[in-house]
């Protein structure tokens, strides 16, 4: 596929993705224990319908869909940043240690203290941010090297995972609850959770979309980027910080949702070809699409129960990862 052809195709790719996102969003509003008909949905949006229909659509499905779309978008963008900045196609937001640290923040707090439900996302967000900062502090001696960030992230993730496991062992009656949270889920999340993290997700997401030009330049060789006047180290640091804020914010309300940040940028990369300037926005759109699709499935597959969305994203992501490894051959990892 030539560069010109891909450029011509971009509006169609964006159009199809946005159309699929809109269709899934609509399906997410209709799907439930009792499916809402399109006529009833229209009535609800006009302030009509039964109380159960209004509450189901406006208080449960709508905020959950928005959280899935926004959170998935943030994870997709964060994944593209991680892969772009570290130049490692297997990098994902989890590699900054942020997800493991947020999980430890949640598990540790619930085991040793008795905070109100409102405080838990805040604590988890702080845990995630601290974990991410620790990664940067460890990696940041001298000029920030992508491979140092990855290695420091692996170390912080291992440390936090070990602490989480140890804490779970002594968490007694809370253990089942915590294991459920660690599976990652959008079940029961509504306006409250959306309001808590909306700014933390939206502002960095808008920032990275606005800054896609420097991000594109970062994909070139360091020397070339420097010659184009880009302060490579500082921009890398900024993008990584924005990625960790988005990942920590989402994890704080949903628990660990894995693979979206890995898979969405890969699909986007294949679709955009050499047009790196489209990589970030398309990764964000595909991330939103994937999480929304996974959540809609999670609500229906084990009816009347719900599956943890983290489990479904792993079911989608793991085969993708295997496909990726197979399609590249043994000598091509990065």
């Amino acid at each position: 596929m030539t560069r010109a052809t891909t450029e011509t195709n971009m509006p169609y790719i964006y159009g199809a993705t946005i159309l699929a996102l809109g269709a899934l969003f609509l399906m997410g509003l209709l799907a439930g224990r009792q499916w809402t008909t399109p006529e009833a949905l229209w009535g609800v949006l006009q302030g009509q319908g039964s109380i159960i229909e209004r509450v189901s659509v406006l208080e449960l499905r709508l905020p959950r869909n928005l959280l899935a779309m926004l959170g998935g978008g943030a994870l997709g963008a964060a994944g593209a940043i991680m892969q772009g900045v570290t130049r490692n196609s297997l990098a994902s937001p989890g590699l900054t240690g942020v997800i493991a640290a947020a999980a430890f923040g949640m598990v540790g707090t619930q085991t040793f203290f008795t905070p109100d439900a409102l405080w838990l996302p805040v604590i988890s967000l702080c845990g995630g941010l601290l974990g991410g900062m620790l990664t940067f502090v460890i990696a940041g001696r001298g000029r920030l090297q992508p491979e140092r960030v990855v290695l420091a992230g692996i170390a912080v993730t291992a440390l936090c995972t070990a602490l989480t496991t140890g804490t779970l062992l002594i968490s007694g009656s809370e253990a089942a609850e915590l294991y459920y949270w660690l599976a990652g889920s959008l079940m029961g999340r509504g306006w409250l959770q959306l309001k808590l993290v909306a700014l933390w997700l939206m502002l960095p997401l808008l920032a990275v979309l606005f800054l896609r030009r420097p991000f594109w330049v970062l994909q070139f060789d360091d020397e070339l980027a420097l010659s184009m006047g880009l302060a490579v180290g500082r921009w890398r640091m900024l993008f990584l910080a924005l990625a960790l804020i988005m990942a920590a914010a989402l994890v704080s309300v949903t628990g660990p949702v894995i693979f979206i940040g890995l898979v969405a940028p890969h699909i986007a990369r294949r679709l955009v070809g050499d047009h790196f300037e489209h990589w970030l926005p398309l990764s964000a759109l595909l991330g939103g699409l994937l999480l929304l699709a996974a959540d809609t499935l999670a609500r229906q597959l084990a009816f009347p129960q719900e599956l943890p969305v983290g489990m479904l994203t792993a079911l989608i992501g793991a085969p993708w990862l295997l496909y990726l490894l197979n399609s590249r051959g043994p000598n091509h990892v990065g």
Binding site: Q110, T114, A117
Partner: protein
């Protein structure tokens, strides 16, 4: 021959002594043989919920409880347990009275301190099967273990009968079960029924609702109330006990009464905007239940649960309600 009265007396005395000794011997044998036979009969053979046979040479007097059920049933049968596990968020089960505060704790039931159990040296361990499967051989190296399911009403009745045998008080255990069933039937006869209920637990954003077979839900069903959790998918194994119910599903089922089991923090799902729309919340029919609702298989807990249900569900006792909105 001259009659020598002393010699005559002596002879008579000697003759009597022999007869007396013989009589004592017979009496001793008559008493001792049944006593010895009785000692042999005091051995106890039990079959627990694993289907395993447990032989006790005599009824247990130092039972350890790796479940609150063990402490509950021992106390109800007049035997003090020598070790207990923690009771939910509490340390010792307060509903069993202050005597439990002095009983050494083994920690949580899913991870009991076996070293401590070994030092205490019980002569029997009451355990919950699903929590002690991995530690079974180690526990049985310390003392015989009775592993029980303790999920359904029938499990509770069977376990109390079994504990009665193990502690040498089968008749008392039988009486306890009979009295409970009689009371349950009496309350059921007075119950107006025709209401739907949900027993919810969890402190997170999503509540966990119990299936019909879970003991407290089963008791509500016996009282002609309809548990919205519904029947279990695997009635034979009894596991899982319930499932995570979405608030949308809960809103559709819209129970008339909700029982909330203990949580150590404000429950996330009660903060959801949907919560106030639930029928039970609107009608002030949301009740906080104690930890004994979660571990209700023991005779004392079971009876307290029935007390709670009688007090909370029937209108003439409405003043004792507590509610969350």
């Amino acid at each position: 021959m001259l009659f020598n009265p002393d010699k005559e007396k002596l002879q008579v005395k000697t003759g009597l002594g022999l007869w007396r000794r013989f009589a004592i011997l017979i009496t001793w044998v008559a008493i001792a043989i049944p006593a010895l036979t009785q000692a042999e009969d005091s051995s106890v053979t039990l079959t627990d919920d694993r289907g395993k046979t447990i032989e006790l040479t005599r009824p247990a007097t130092r039972p350890a409880a790796i479940s609150t059920f063990g402490a509950d049933v021992a106390k109800a049968l007049g035997v003090q347990p020598v070790a207990i596990t923690t009771f939910g968020l509490q340390g010792a089960p307060a509903y069993l009275g202050p005597s439990m505060d002095k009983v050494p704790s083994l920690g949580p039931r899913h991870q009991p301190n076996l070293e401590r159990l070994s030092r205490i040296a019980p002569d029997l361990v009451f355990a919950i099967r699903r929590y002690t499967e991995k530690d079974g051989p180690q526990i049985e190296a310390i003392a015989p273990m009775v592993a029980l399911d303790l999920i359904t009403l029938q499990d509770s009745l069977n376990a109390i009968a079994l504990a009665g045998e193990a502690l040498g008080r089968p008749q008392e255990a039988k009486r306890i079960n009979e009295q409970f069933l009689a009371r349950l039937n009496s309350v059921a006869a007075r119950s107006p029924g025709n209401r739907t209920v949900a027993i919810l637990t969890s402190g997170g954003e999503t509540p966990f609702v119990y299936y019909d077979h879970f003991l407290t839900a089963a008791l509500l069903e016996q009282l002609h109330l309809d548990n919205v959790g519904g029947p279990p998918p695997n009635p034979d194994s009894g596991i899982p006990l319930g499932y995570r119910i979405s608030l949308e599903a809960l809103l559709t089922l819209n129970p008339d009464v909700i029982f909330l089991l203990p949580s150590n923090r404000q429950r996330g799902y009660t903060l959801n905007p949907v919560w106030p729309y639930l029928q039970a919340v609107k009608n002030n029919q949301v009740f906080e239940a104690g930890q004994h609702w979660k571990e209700s298989a023991g005779p004392i807990a079971r009876s307290l649960v029935l007390d709670d249900m009688e007090r909370l569900l029937f209108p003439d006792n409405a003043r004792r309600k507590t509610s969350l909105r």
